[in-house]
């Protein structure tokens, strides 16, 4: 029987534990803490954090427990990530939640959502310089798209081995938007600019809102066909919402589907960060480049907004350029907060939503373009 005990003890975590797993357990706990105590994107950080814990419990390989072993429960749930199925389903839910009205009211603000995607391509160059392969570099660049599902989708196509670190980096920086963006925003704008107030956008009719997802699908997928899986589902969800006669389907998309998929995506992405696979030099590169990507994207949005003001009669508040990075709706909220620090009577939230959601479209197109270049 001592044999059995010994065998069992040698299978317990205590015998198998690795220092990298201990580090990751701390990381997982930190994620959960930030989600619960600091309210940083709790819907993402809590499942991911717990997934990190689950993925870094020291288990014997060969027992079918690890997410990387065929036949394990986690490996089945992980298929939705590796096959790129979860991100489009999440996009459908987002579509069924999002009101595109402000964007439809002032389509010129969509340019800000385009400008902020420069971060993606600049980081792509940076990653190439550091010696990453083109597929990896593209996946790293997309972190600057500030859109978790898009990043996971592209990475699952171009650099499946990096799903863990890239997803973690993307979601971390998205959660840290309220920390990362304000200093950059203050650096690139003057106090006078931050005080600019904007006019209420016009009312958008129901018909416009119904037509938009159809036009949006056709145009964006004619121009960038590879954006179809993400944008197709985004616009589908939105059409189900705006049609109103399909309310119960929209309801399923924005509750049942997105919530279930969010749990499964979060926990499996978290569990894919096994210490021995995750804690590498590459991951550090990814995190550094990801932060750069975020900063550059924010800056590009701000600078472009200032540029637009040179041509506009009715000036826009350049802060809303920072919302072009996506990270819906957190970066729009941050824009609002920073503006209110200057003038508590300035309400930018609604205005910032336009670049914010066009940033989602922009990064999905960016992902599609990179995918089509590199396949």
């Amino acid at each position: 029987m001592e044999d059995l005990f010994l065998q069992f003890l040698s299978n317990t975590g205590f015998a198998l534990v690795d220092y990298r797993q201990v580090i990751m357990l701390c990381v997982g706990t930190l994620f959960i803490y930030l989600g619960i105590a600091k309210h940083y994107e709790p819907l993402l950080l809590v499942p991911i954090g717990f997934g990190v814990l689950m993925g870094n419990m020291p288990v014997m390989h060969g027992m079918g427990l690890s997410i990387y072993e065929e036949g394990s429960v986690l490996s089945y749930l992980y298929y939705g990530v590796t096959k790129g199925i979860y991100p489009p389903l999440i996009f459908m839910g987002i579509g069924a939640m999002t009101d595109f009205s402000t964007m439809l009211a002032r389509p010129s603000l969509m340019l800000l959502g385009a400008a902020a995607q420069a971060g993606i391509f600049i980081t792509f160059l940076g990653a190439l310089m550091l010696g990453f392969s083109p597929g990896e570099a593209a996946s790293i660049g997309i972190i600057g798209g500030a859109d978790g599902p898009t990043a996971i989708f592209l990475t699952s196509k171009l650099a499946p081995k990096l799903i863990g670190p890239i997803a973690i980096a993307a979601y971390s920086y998205m959660a840290l938007v309220p920390v990362i963006q304000p200093p950059i925003m203050k650096l690139f704008t003057t106090k006078k600019e931050r005080l600019i107030k904007m006019r209420e956008p016009r009312k958008v009719s129901k018909r416009e809102r119904i037509i938009f997802p159809i036009i949006g699908l056709i145009l964006s997928c004619l121009l960038a066909p590879a954006a179809l899986p993400l944008l197709g589902m985004l616009f589908l969800g939105n059409l189900l919402k705006e049609a109103t006669v399909t309310e119960r389907l929209a309801d399923a998309a924005r509750n049942t589907v997105i919530d279930t998929v969010t749990i499964l995506l979060g926990v499996t992405v978290g569990a894919s960060t096994q210490g021995d696979i995750f804690l590498t030099k590459e991951s550090i590169g990814i995190f550094v480049l990801g932060a750069l990507s975020f900063a550059v994207a924010t800056a590009c949005g701000l600078v472009f907004a200032k540029g637009m003001n040179l041509f506009l009669k009715e000036k826009i508040n350049p802060l809303i350029g920072a919302a072009g990075v996506s990270a819906v709706p957190d970066s729009a909220r941050v824009v609002h907060t920073v503006a209110q620090q200057e003038d508590p009577t300035n309400y930018l939230l609604m205005h910032a939503m336009a670049p914010n959601i066009s940033g989602v479209i922009g990064s999905a197109i960016g992902a599609g373009v990179l995918w089509s270049f590199l396949t």
Binding site: L111, G113, A114, A115, I122, P134, S358, I365
Partner: protein, 144 residues
């Protein structure tokens, strides 16, 4: 690592071109999308106005006739009945089932002429209209 090597690594993978082309395409896409979107409500307005225009023209040519036709059916007696039935709307809601309308009418003693007959006449005149879901509404365009 030397800067030359860094640049080399980008060029080796055609990086500069991909980045520039990528950014341009993203921008173009969103510009075209923005331009199109900014037209949607104008086109919709135009379509609405066209309908109004057509409506006006039709009214001019056809309208009189139709009015006369309705007028011939819409006797003063029926108009009076219509007004009485109309007053039940607050209890029935904007769209209602005929069953309920009849029950309400009967419970208020409106039995002469019998509700079934009055309602049939109101439907012939077009004052009561049926929608896709077999619910009924008052059509005010005829009422005037």
């Amino acid at each position: 690592m030397q800067i030359a090597t860094l640049i080399e690594q980008v060029s080796a993978h055609n990086g500069w071109n991909m980045a520039l082309a990528g950014m341009t395409i993203v921008f173009t896409c969103l510009v075209i999308l923005a331009l199109t979107i900014s037209r949607i409500h104008k086109i919709l307005d135009l379509l609405d106005n066209r309908d109004q225009l057509r409506l006006k023209m039709r009214e001019f040519f056809v309208g009189r006739e139709k009015e006369k036709q309705v007028a011939s059916l819409l006797t003063p007696a029926l108009e009076l009945e219509a007004a009485r039935y109309r007053r039940l709307t607050p209890f029935l809601g904007e769209t209602f089932s005929l069953k309920k309308l009849i029950r309400f009418a009967e419970s208020r003693g409106m039995t002469n002429p019998p509700p079934e007959k009055t309602i049939r006449q109101l439907m012939e005149v077009g004052l009561i209209k049926k929608d896709m879901r077999n619910r009924f509404t008052w059509d005010d365009s005829v009422a005037k």
